[in-house]
Symmetry: C2
């Protein structure tokens, strides 16, 4: 426990208040990190080789867990706090230190621990969770195979019931069945939650998960299990990714994580969910936290990068002011403001949206997934936000690197490692392109539910008559959004009602158009080709939806801010977020005659003006993003 007075005292009052607002319901959880965790606790040296980075990550995970960080998601009975929402907040804070460490904990506590917790029963919890929390019982989440990444239902590993022995046999029948990219596999894992096809009496009951020992307590080999080290990667050198194959490995019946189905003591398969498909998606649904964490972690890394680049841009000068001789700080240049400030605005927008989705996760867990609509909505948002936040992270960290010039490329300035580590966030926990298609499919289901089999002409007419569009499911921001929409009808680019209208309109129209095309495609002679031709449209619909969800969360977050001065700053930041997003999509708006060229230019001018205006609050906004200055660890800021 380090004395913190000296650290926090450098914060401006506005910066601290912004931080409190953006932390929202998680302020206490997050502030404990800032008060108690130092750079030495969780910031990695970019120069370390793989073995050093891997050992460091495990050491720090054990240390932080002992201090009750990053383990809030576990049941209180086993030493956690029983809060999934808090566990997301912990992951976000870990990610402000180091993404390898965050992913190491994500593998150990989140994925492995989460599988045991969410798919197992009380006995599994008591047997594996206490050691999982401390980092003693190291485990893998062995889902992805070489042959099948995105297509999880086609996994080839088998979990075959052997009646005469009363146990299961886990086997990798083909090279493609090799478990791959598995964190904790290459070095540390003793156990694995293995995903495979459950075969009982020759019948396939679909994908199930079973706990298999892969190393002894002394980390020695186990018969029938072959482990490979996937070695050097584009980043995340502290995470020991590896391959695992199984050669007819026998596993006790009790090891099956059987919350949703398994072979009973009588040797027959039983499940609470009849449909194989429904069972599969129910199981996966309980693991949605991983996606939420990945989006939030990528956003944390981005906030860190933005903090470094913005603080540097405030002090670094280049070229002289003509006539005056004074050199000009980088952040005074319009191009530099344009690089950083809209991204800071997005950092706030995504931060508020992340708070909301963490709470939504908690509500779903509290209800034990009983509200299937809520479950599906959460999954849709988690998929959309994961895709958007990780895309933004990769793009923005790169912008930050370039905004720091050559210095940004030196590892000692903290940017290149975040960029390299965040890269694969676009891929794991679901490839972004595949996730956006999942979102689009869910939106089409919503759409169909609302409109049923009404023919398309009728649908279009009905939609045109509607204001607000009921098929757009409202987020929890419903009350405040309705209040805004029922108020001012101003079409000024600064009008929040206009922003909402533009975001909603883009979503509604994109989804409607997609529904129309998909219905036609289903009837086409080559339906694969016809549906395939809608893929880009699907991505557009998914992004439009997620943008709208994020805007609503931002508006709700501001509504919950008591301090009117802070709310006024956040409103400007929200203006910038909304207008920069509208500007990015101005091609769409003009194509669909939502506004004309003159209006589009006014939007661009408004974004420029907001950048110039908020440049005066750049330090405070940077502080508000919540990354302790002492964690930045950038030589250029010393």
């Amino acid at each position: 426990m380090t004395a913190t007075a000296t650290r926090t005292s450098t914060l401006t009052a506005t910066g601290e208040a912004l931080r409190r607002a953006l932390d929202g319901p998680f302020h206490a959880v997050k502030q404990r990190w800032r008060d108690e965790v130092t750079a030495e606790d969780f910031v990695r040296d970019p120069d370390w080789d793989i073995p050093t980075a891997r050992e460091w990550a495990l050491d720090k995970l054990v240390d932080l867990a002992a201090r009750e960080f990053a383990i809030a998601g576990f049941p209180e009975a086993q030493g956690g706090r029983g809060s999934q929402a808090e566990s997301v907040a912990h992951f976000e804070m870990l990610a402000m230190g180091d993404l390898s460490l965050a992913i190491k904990s994500g593998v150990q506590h989140g994925l492995w621990g989460g599988a045991v917790m969410n798919l197992g029963n009380q006995w599994h919890h008591e047997t594996w969770l206490p050691g999982t929390i401390t980092g003693e019982t190291t485990g893998c989440f062995a889902m992805t195979e070489l042959g099948h990444g995105s297509d999880v239902q086609s996994l080839e590993t088998t979990i075959t019931w052997v009646p005469e022995a009363g146990e299961y046999e886990v086997h990798s029948p083909t090279p493609g069945a090799t478990k791959a990219y598995i964190g904790n596999a290459a070095t540390h894992g003793k156990w694995a939650a293995v995903f495979g096809q459950m075969i009982v009496d020759g019948e396939n009951h679909g994908v199930h998960v079973i706990i298999v020992r892969i190393r002894t307590e002394e980390l020695g080999p186990v018969d029938g299990v072959t482990i490979g080290d996937q070695g050097h990667k584009g980043g995340l050198l502290g995470v020991d990714n590896g391959t695992i194959t199984f050669d007819h490995v026998r596993v006790p019946r009790e090891n099956l994580l059987d919350r949703f189905g398994g072979v009973t003591a009588d040797g027959v398969y039983a499940s609470t969910i009849e449909s194989r498909n429904a069972r599969f998606f129910t199981m996966l649904g309980t693991l949605v936290r991983g996606r939420i964490c990945v989006g939030g972690g990528a956003a944390s890394g981005t906030r860190k990068a933005l903090s470094i680049a913005t603080r540097y841009a405030l002090k670094r000068t280049q070229f002289r002011l003509p006539d005056l001789g004074r050199e000009i700080p980088l952040l005074d240049y319009q191009t530099h403001q344009r690089k950083l400030l809209p991204n800071i605005a997005k950092a706030y927008a995504y931060g508020f949206a992340q708070n909301e989705i963490a709470l939504q996760l908690q509500r779903m867990m509290d209800a034990q997934g009983s509200d299937s609509t809520a479950v599906r909505e959460l999954e849709t948002r988690a998929a959309g936000m994961k895709a958007l936040l990780t895309r933004w992270a990769n793009d923005t960290i790169q912008v930050c690197r370039e905004a720091c010039g050559g210095a940004g490329y030196l590892s000692e300035n903290g940017l290149t490692m975040v960029r390299q580590d965040a890269d694969v966030f676009a891929t794991f926990e679901g490839d972004n392109t595949v996730l956006l298609q999942l979102v689009a499919k869910a939106l089409l289901l919503d759409y169909k539910k609302t409109w049923g089999d009404m023919d398309m002409r009728g649908t279009a007419q009905a939609t045109a008559r509607m204001l607000g569009g009921t098929f757009l499911e409202r987020t929890t921001a419903k009350a405040v959004i309705d209040r805004i929409l029922s108020g001012s009808k101003s079409k000024d680019v600064g009008s929040r009602a206009w922003h909402i209208e533009m975001f909603e309109d883009r979503e509604r129209h994109t989804v409607e158009g997609l529904a129309k095309r998909m219905r036609a495609a289903a009837k086409a002679s080559d339906s694969f080709a016809a549906v395939n031709a809608c893929q880009q449209h699907m991505l557009a619909a998914a992004k439009a939806h997620t943008d709208r969800v994020v805007l609503e969360a931002f508006i709700e977050g501001i509504d919950e801010t008591d301090d009117p001065y802070i709310a006024s700053i956040l409103n400007k930041v929200c203006d910038l977020y909304a207008l920069a997003t509208i500007e990015e999509n101005r091609g769409w708006y003009m194509e669909h005659e939502r506004f004309d060229g003159a209006r589009s230019k006014v939007v661009t001018e408004a974004v420029d003006a907001l950048c110039l205006d908020l440049r005066g609050k750049a330090l405070e906004l940077t502080e508000g993003m919540g990354v302790e200055e002492s964690w930045l660890n950038a030589e250029i800021l010393r």
Copy 2:
């Protein structure tokens, strides 16, 4: 010399012909690499630590130079071929192997060697160039300082004439004067071409360059020179970047690279160029090759990444075709085609444009820079292309990484190291944002030259009457462009004349608007603020100009292709390049009423259709990009 029959025989005939067309005037030079250079000669292991990577880079440089690769730019008298254009082609081929090695050679042969060659006299050539070619006489290009990166004219290092000793004193007066990010400095460099302010008798004659010894032949320290190692970077681990400072280091008078000015044997300063400013820009102008190489090298790395991702997408399947059961190759998906094919089209476009600029460089060197308009035009294009190609490289290599999923993140698959190495190409040889502003300023000069002081109303009217706009300086493609424009007037999205018109129109209108704004800004009370507000507009103008130059080069390249079948394929690729670029800028076109929303959607549909069409030629187009399959070194392709 490896037998090559087995390697080249795997090429399709179409792929080989496309390769020949894209190599253009450099086919023989480039084919010699493919015939004689193997992966072991120049492909680096991504797992190596810094010392190993650095020694490997120097070893390979020495080896390749001994085989007469990468040294074509030096005078024949010293062992080169006296061809700057060929030296650019060599750099591009080096970059297909490894970007660290390319940059190591770029530092040694291009920057250090280029400074001696272009700024020195015969004696400098004879003294330093032979060893520079072999890699024995290792040197640094010591321009950038910690305090001043983009603003080279404000460098603080001094080169002071000491009359009583008849020699110069090189000194770093402040910490900001420290030379930084200097390749060859940290480990290997024996010499440095040091940029500093030339002070004679208290008068500053501006930036000059002098050769200073920084290490002994045994690589030991030299009095007065302090060298630092900048250690781990975001990539380019094979390049030994470091810092250098000088403490009153005395240097013989003869060491000044005095082609454009220096102190005579009589102890007085003399220069063939009177203006300090003109002298500075003339000196920098001779070094333009570096920028051309950086753009070309980034493009080579991107072609390699595209080759890996496309070959993988042709063989990797994921998800089953509904009903049929067959798994679907990734490249059959529309989203995947959209990721790769427009970028392959850009690879061709930029390849043809790169050939053209290399030839233009040669013409400028042959004329010894006597045509100042040609010099300025070359500098403008080099700056614009460097900015565009390196931006495209970073974005596209990332797309390729993601298109290969988790496998793309494993270093053994060859993508992550290219991505990390290419990153800083956006910064060195000129920050992209600064370079685009240089381009815009040059365009404004052209504009002013054409229109003189005609008032803006008159200008606008005159412009409106013009077709083709004389202020758009034509590239060497003038004849073929004029022929196309005088032919079909079709406005079909497949019409080349329409593409040209759209590219030209965007450039002309953006530059005109900028000229108008800049003229007004110059008269504003706060002229910094007013000019600053035009920065984003400057970037837009520079991009529009460079896009047009690239399109013209592509059209010219096709015109020079004899084989009508190959030309027909290239025409489709050019359609895709042109339409994808128009699509990216559709917001601008609609804002300025160049086309409406309906037309915009037709453009998007045409891009989709071309992607689907060219998917059938994906292997051939990949081969045509010119990267030997054996150089790809990707485990996923084995």
